[in-house]
Point group: C2
Chain length 204, copies 2
DNA sequence: CTCGGCATGTAACCGGTTACATGATTTT
DNA sequence: AAAATCATGTAACCGGTTACATGCCGAG
């Protein structure tokens, strides 16, 4: 459902064709929303049908015909309404937490290995999101530059700070996950020291 | 995919029938995984086919026939393997972050209202998860009590502390979200004071 | 006798994933 | 000429959601 709005937000910043849009969403693990290329074209078709976007077919620089989609006035209103209304969170569904619930049932070393892989993954995300945040504050990302071009200078600061703040959130959440995982490693090690040589159901 | 393992984890703690299991997952917004009743029966059927669980048909206390499912040895191994292996995080897909990215494009009051609804929602979760965490440490939840009955006393501490720690994580993550949302409110208000009376595309 | 709770499902739908198809153009 | 990239899709599948179907039992 939300991909619609993710697409609208990107197209609002800068009109572009399906290919560029699809690439953005396909590459963007690090972004707040990701989607495979095939899904983007579907959503694009639906948004067109619903009259929320319109594609100006344009002769690309290379003679290739390509449609630059941008929001219709109705699309702008639709997006603004979605942003302005509270939407209840989707039900919790956290595979890692589910896995961690089972750490009492496996040997400590395996659990620690899983936690360390998790830490590494989150730290990579922290770096990517952090860099993106910095780039936003410098107003130095491709999409933001295109977005600012279309907006009065008085709004530039607000736009950049809000976007940067959201990536700051992602960094903070990932940092909290890393902190927790380290404490979980300590806990498992402590429990092992206090009650040593338990034999788990799966013994070597 | 993960619902399989969520089901296995619950059945490992205590064998039960589809109804009780389905109710758990349907009610459990507050849990780490939720699922509608209809899906649980489907997963249950598949786990049966795959030989990971077996249902002992039993005459219920009221003469009603009901199947108590529990893990087969293969099911135990399967679950232990899944818990012991790292699984990469699913691609980021955070509807709230997506919405927050658009806060620069709507008026501050609307954005603040959305943020306050978010804060209220997260605080409710914090309370529920926090209570559950306390209950786990007291070893006073229905499922944990049933689980501990089947395990030697020497493991009780480890089991309770690990489970509690996971709910502690959920509390910490939700707390980080609340903290961030409050700072976001401040930021929007500050930006408004510094560059007052901007008129957003949607003016009253 | 009806209503709510126990118990087990089926059916239709939708969002998201994986994989494949097609054709043009640009680069090597 | 072959490979990479631009550009736009289709098809099959799967996990998850909503809604409905069925029947038994005990309580009011």
């Amino acid at each position: 459902m939300s991909l619609r709005y993710a697409v609208l937000e990107v197209l609002q910043a800068s009109p572009m064709n399906g290919y560029r849009l699809a690439r953005r969403f396909a590459e963007a693990q690090r972004w707040v929303w990701s989607a495979p290329q095939s899904q983007v074209y579907g959503v694009l078709a639906k948004l067109r049908e619903d009259g929320l976007i319109a594609g100006a077919v344009r002769e690309g620089e290379n003679g290739l015909s390509t449609a630059d989609y941008s929001l219709t006035p109705e699309g702008e209103r639709h997006l603004a309404r979605w942003i302005s209304e509270p939407h209840s969170e989707p039900p919790t569904r956290d595979p890692f937490a589910l896995q961690a619930l089972g750490f009492d049932a496996v040997d400590t070393d395996s659990a620690v290995a899983v936690l360390e892989a998790h830490i590494a993954e989150q730290e990579a995300l922290i770096e990517q999101w952090g860099e993106h945040r910095e780039a936003l504050l410098r107003r130095d990302t491709p999409l933001l530059r295109e977005r600012l071009k279309a907006r009065p200078a008085g709004e530039h600061r607000r736009i950049a700070e809000v976007k940067a703040m959201v990536f700051g959130r992602q960094v903070e959440l990932a940092t909290a996950k890393v902190d927790w995982a380290r404490r979980m490693v300590d806990l498992l090690r402590d429990l092992d020291r206090e009650a040593p040589a338990r034999d788990e159901s799966a013994s070597a």
